[in-house]
């Protein structure tokens, strides 16, 4: 197996190759990378791959934003079951 086939976002099964090609084609920001590939948009809310998407976005010295977190955090920051969300008593 090579780097190319390596999975970066496990929830959405997005590979390293797909992310690098997207970066090279569109020279996009971390947020745009996420929106184009769905990396970081799965069940875990990007807990695992967030940092990697940031790094891929910095390919070829794209600048780093050092004042604000580059990928927005959205509540709920932990998975919540539908039962709890709907307030349904079991």
């Amino acid at each position: 197996m090579q780097n190319e086939k390596m999975i970066v976002c496990r929830c959405e099964e997005v590979t390293y190759k797909e992310l690098m090609e997207t970066k090279k084609t569109y020279n996009c920001s971390a947020r745009e990378l996420k929106l184009r590939t769905r990396a970081g948009m799965g069940y875990c809310g990007g807990r695992t791959c967030r940092g990697m998407i940031d790094k891929i976005a910095m390919f070829q010295d794209s600048p780093k934003n050092n004042k604000e977190v580059s990928l927005k955090y959205q509540p709920p920051i932990r998975p919540v079951s539908f039962t709890d969300l709907g307030g349904v008593k079991q």
């Binding site: 197996m1 780097n3 999975i7 970066v8 940092g51 780093k64 955090y73 959205q74």
Partner: protein, 401 residues
């Protein structure tokens, strides 16, 4: 309504809870894990004075003290959102919400994952997971492990695994890619290793740390780093090899390592297999600041502190009213620093809650954070002091705006 809510029952959260209770404030602590203690639970090492730092016991002592003082705890309770409304904070969990005038985020740190081909196989885990299995749950993660990623934390945990009778057959680098960068560069890794040399009984590393003060010597060090690695506690550490793939049919069966040049690029044809039944990935730590981000805190990125940290004062206040931070959320450091920060945060909260006469105690507690930092046994980044200074300057800067 609660007076104070603390999210995180790690060393900083526990110390803050104790401090607030001693000042007579009503305190509720929430933690998503089933045991109080946070990352302190897994720590086990011999200190320079020959005594042992046993995190399980240290956690228990603080948790029991907080309980005795009348702190309320809700464990097994993840917080998924916090919102500021009309001068108080609402904290959301799966089934309930709580409000308080003062909210402390003591959520600690998380591990940075480093992807390696095959890292989704069962049997691959973060090095912190191996630490928790071994030291907290007392379950062996396997019998023969390989650790990918050579840094302070993985070196410390490798030793803990050894103590538990688990064989670590190799510690080596991840294969070079855009997502591994520094952690796959022999020179960068060598550089950071020099700061843990005091932990290593190996002559090579000890000698090396004195010789390698300049770049030229570091390059030479990497070039002449023995191909077979150097041994620390009998574990071969290889900076001139990298794992190019983790293999196995349905679970980990081993890794393929290859020789790399001093830039981290693989030398073709040098691949060989090493058998293992578990693999740990060690990518280092970053401050877990999700809730501060959701709340809308100002942030600052600092390599030395491990990533994005909420902007905060020496007294542990954020730029949002009634929101405080303590522990590793403010930068990656050891447990003793986290404890000292928890105390400062507790006193600052008591001060804002109207308890008079705390000014001197606050100043003393700020000084003891500095002292704990200077004496720290484990330093996660050699530039942590500088990182803290820059952050404070940025705080004062933006406050002035």
């Amino acid at each position: 309504m609660n007076k104070v809510i603390i999210i995180g029952a790690g060393p900083s959260g526990l110390e803050a809870a104790i401090t607030c209770r001693e000042q007579g404030l009503d305190v509720l602590v929430l933690d998503e894990y089933m045991i109080a203690g946070g990352r302190l639970l897994g720590q086990l090492y011999e200190q320079p004075d020959g005594t042992w730092w046993n995190g399980l016991e240290e956690s228990k002592i603080r948790y029991e003290k907080a309980l005795e003082l009348g702190t309320r705890f809700l464990l097994n309770t993840p917080v998924n959102n916090i919102v500021q409304t009309n001068e108080h904070w609402t904290v959301y969990t799966d089934t309930e919400s709580f409000t308080a005038k003062h909210l402390l985020l003591a959520t600690g740190a998380a591990e940075t994952p480093v992807p390696v081909p095959g890292w989704t196989l069962p049997g691959v885990m973060s090095v912190g997971a191996a630490q928790v299995m071994t030291n907290v749950h007392r379950v062996k993660p396997g019998n023969r492990g390989v650790i990918i990623g050579v840094n302070v934390l993985s070196t410390a945990i490798a030793m803990e695994l050894k103590l538990a009778g688990i064989e670590v057959v190799a510690m080596t680098l991840p294969v070079n890619s855009q997502v591994t960068n520094e952690s796959s560069q022999p020179k960068e890794v060598m550089n950071s290793l020099l700061h843990v040399s005091h932990m290593a009984p190996s002559k090579f590393i000890k000698l090396g740390s004195r010789l390698m003060k300049n770049d030229f010597m570091k390059n030479m060090g990497v070039t002449f780093f023995p191909k077979t690695g150097v041994k620390i506690w009998d574990i071969p550490i290889q900076l001139r090899k990298a794992v190019v793939e983790i293999y196995g049919d349905n679970e980990v069966q081993g890794v393929i390592v290859a020789t790399i040049d001093s830039k981290g690029d693989v030398v073709g044809g040098s691949e060989e297999k090493i058998k293992a039944d578990f693999v740990c990935i060690a990518g280092g730590l970053y401050p877990l600041a999700e809730l501060a981000a959701v709340a809308g805190c100002s942030f600052y990125y600092s390599e030395e502190l491990g990533g994005y940290v909420p902007l905060h004062s020496e007294r542990m206040e954020t730029n949002l009213d009634g929101l405080y931070v303590a522990g590793n959320i403010t930068g990656i450091e050891g447990a003793k620093v986290a404890i000292a920060q928890g105390k400062t945060a507790g006193l600052t909260i008591a001060h804002h809650a109207g308890i008079p006469g705390l000014e001197k105690d606050i100043q003393t507690s700020i000084e003891s954070i500095e002292r704990a930092r200077d004496k720290a046994y484990i330093q996660f980044h050699p530039g942590v002091k500088k990182g803290k200074e820059l952050l404070l300057a940025e705080w004062q800067n933006r406050l002035g705006e």
